[in-house]
């Protein structure tokens, strides 16, 4: 029996809110004896603060934001945990039409590497001509978007702290600022890349998958204190989300209708389902489709397992970009990524990996891991620039 029958979950309207919406709309939460209120938030900071003071029970969180809150890197320090990843991938880099034309002309090859090399040429030319720096937007200082963008830039020899100006904007304002010319590009989650592309405002040049294949993104985050008082409620939520994730992977259009018709997001379904169906076109050639199974993974490839190696890579990024000192990051990953809670909730429901960590950046193709009761299928995990993480 859940300790709490009425649970408030915060979310920011995005394509990766789908599992939460589906679990509510199809009654998966109700089946667990839990009524869920999905509370829309306009800023990640407010969503985080509301979870910290208990105004929200839990929320769809940016994985690095959960880590930074636990470390007290911004605002108040409070131990936050996750036992559930809401999916993999879902981000992309979109640039203004002007910048796109420049990159497409300058690029030696139409690849993510070619694109960033061309970007470096643009940056150097602007510097020589005393033009202002390019402005690139992310959604939050501690976000996968920040690290995907920074990593991609650095692979092209661009210093994200010196060669460009990085600003933070809410996802829903990205397209408008791109249209107004306030920013030259952004790294943002779906559907905002699709919205920019379909309205002709911007051009999606690189998907998150092309920077880190099957990268972590949102997690269901909550305080350690909340989990301690509501273990059964958490189990119920995770069981419902497990069913929802499977449903979304198989029934993308139906899931999108729930998101749009239920007014969880104020956009038409035709815009939201573009990348979910592999119809988002982009790249430097301008007409490369981004495959659906690269853009969003909600359940398969152990998408919901809170890999401590994901946490470790993200902590490594925080360290790399100067937000975090010290090198004993293992215990932090373990405190925040509660694989034990995932295991107890999913026991008997699905096969799960034996280990809590995996190698990152070494598998170019799907592979399999020893699991319990059966081995589990994993997705590719290469990183651009050949970076690897070995536990």
């Amino acid at each position: 029996m859940p300790e709490k029958r009425h649970v408030r979950i915060g979310y920011v309207p995005l394509t990766d809110s789908l599992p939460l919406v589906v679990a509510r709309e199809l009654g998966f939460f109700s089946d667990e004896g839990i009524e869920v209120d999905l509370q829309r938030e306009t800023s990640w900071a407010t969503l985080r603060d509301r979870v910290m003071v208990g105004q929200l029970d839990c929320a769809q969180m940016l994985a690095p934001m959960l880590l930074s809150a636990s470390l007290g890197l911004c605002g108040i320090r409070k131990q936050m945990v996750t036992a559930w990843s809401l999916g993999l991938n879902g981000n992309a880099i979109t640039v203004s039409q002007n910048l796109f034309k420049g990159l497409a002309t300058l690029a030696d090859e139409h690849t993510p590497l070619g694109a960033v090399r061309a970007l470096k040429v643009v940056i150097e030319s602007r510097r020589r001509n005393a033009q202002p720096q390019l402005v690139l937007a992310i959604v939050f200082p501690f976000s996968c978007q920040a690290y995907l963008l920074r990593h991609w830039l650095s692979v092209g020899g661009i210093d994200p702290d010196k060669d460009v100006k990085i600003v933070v904007l809410p996802p829903s304002q990205m397209v408008e600022h791109l249209r107004l010319g306030n920013i030259d590009g952004c790294c943002v989650g779906e559907p905002w890349n699709s919205v920019a592309a379909l309205t002709g405002v911007g051009h999606c040049i690189v998907s998150g998958y092309e920077i880190w294949q099957n990268a972590p993104e949102k997690v269901l985050g909550m305080s350690a204190e909340w989990v301690a008082h509501h273990p059964q409620t958490l189990n119920g939520l995770l069981r419902a989300l497990h069913r929802a994730g499977r449903y979304v992977d198989e029934n993308r259009n139906e899931a999108v209708n729930m998101l749009t018709e239920g007014h969880y997001i104020e956009l038409p379904a035709e815009l939201v389902n573009v990348s979910l169906n592999g119809r988002l076109m982009g790249g430097l050639s301008g007409n490369k489709p981004f495959p659906a199974d690269h853009f969003h993974v909600f359940s398969r490839y152990q998408a919901n397992f809170p890999w401590r190696s994901h946490a470790a890579v993200l902590l490594g990024q925080m360290q790399r970009w100067g937000s975090l000192q010290g090198d004993n990051l293992g215990p932090i990953a373990a405190q925040c990524y509660r694989t034990d809670l995932y295991r107890s909730a999913m026991s008997g429901m699905t096969s799960m990996p034996v280990e809590d960590v995996k190698q990152e950046g070494v598998h170019p193709n799907p592979w399999s891991l020893p699991g319990n009761p059966e081995s589990v299928e994993m997705g590719s995990d290469l990183m651009i620039g050949g970076n690897i993480y070995l536990p």
Partner: protein, 229 residues
């Protein structure tokens, strides 16, 4: 959320070290800043609430240097106006921009450091519940920060109570209009007096265990359907 915008401390930041070393001139300015009247900037998309808060803060002896509907252009404003405290509506979509700004030294000479202590945590929780978030310059006396945030909490709560009251009144007025219309329908169709029509609605509501306004709404819908035929 209480964050302190520190002028001189760089416990950590987005990998950027302070561009200039701490000088004694800076230090003396810091000492002064503890005694001067804090300069407050308000970011709120509800002008009425911001105006109420501005008056309250001014009355309490603080200096409100700017009132902005949104954080657009905030970087420039903060640079020019040098606020000690920024009060932001929790529902402002610009909070993430502010959080980032607080971490950057390149755009802002004053990085943000955490402003926390058990006492402040309690203030923070009350602030969040009232819908207030605040960014605070480090070096300001904690008691002063608390006083300013408390004024904001009180005013935000009062404003919310006013709005709730207004909403309630609006609903009551709308209900009354629906009931009047339903009475009119009954009077016309059944040749009842106004009092008889009202009693009939009331009895139906009691029999069905419904609110009077629900019965009235149903009756109007039903009569519209009949008219349509």
């Amino acid at each position: 959320m209480l964050l302190a915008l520190s002028r001189y401390e760089s416990i950590w930041s987005a990998g950027v070290q302070p561009e200039h070393e701490l000088s004694t001139a800076d230090l003396s300015q810091d000492t002064q800043s503890k005694d001067k009247v804090p300069r407050v900037m308000l970011v709120d998309d509800q002008p009425a609430r911001a105006a109420i808060l501005e008056r309250a803060l001014t009355d309490a002896g603080y200096l409100v240097i700017a009132r902005l509907p949104s954080a657009a252009g905030l970087l420039a404003q903060v640079g020019q106006l040098n606020p000690d405290v920024i009060i932001v509506d929790m529902d402002s979509p610009d909070r993430d921009t502010l959080e980032h700004m607080a971490l950057l030294q390149r755009d802002l000479p004053r990085p943000v450091v955490m402003f926390a202590g058990s006492e402040d945590e309690e203030t923070m929780a009350r602030a969040i519940h009232a819908g207030v978030s605040a960014y605070v310059v480090d070096g300001l006396q904690p008691s002063r920060v608390k006083a300013i945030v408390n004024v904001a909490i009180t005013r935000f709560r009062e404003y919310q109570a006013l709005r709730d009251e207004l909403e309630k009144t609006r609903c009551q007025l709308a209900d009354r209009r629906v009931i009047e219309k339903a009475k009119g329908v009954l009077m016309g169709r059944r040749q009842l007096t106004e009092e008889q029509a009202y009693q009939m609605l009331r009895r139906t509501a009691m029999d069905r265990g419904q609110r009077l306004v629900e019965v009235a709404k149903n009756l109007i819908t039903f009569s519209d359907l009949l008219e349509g035929q």
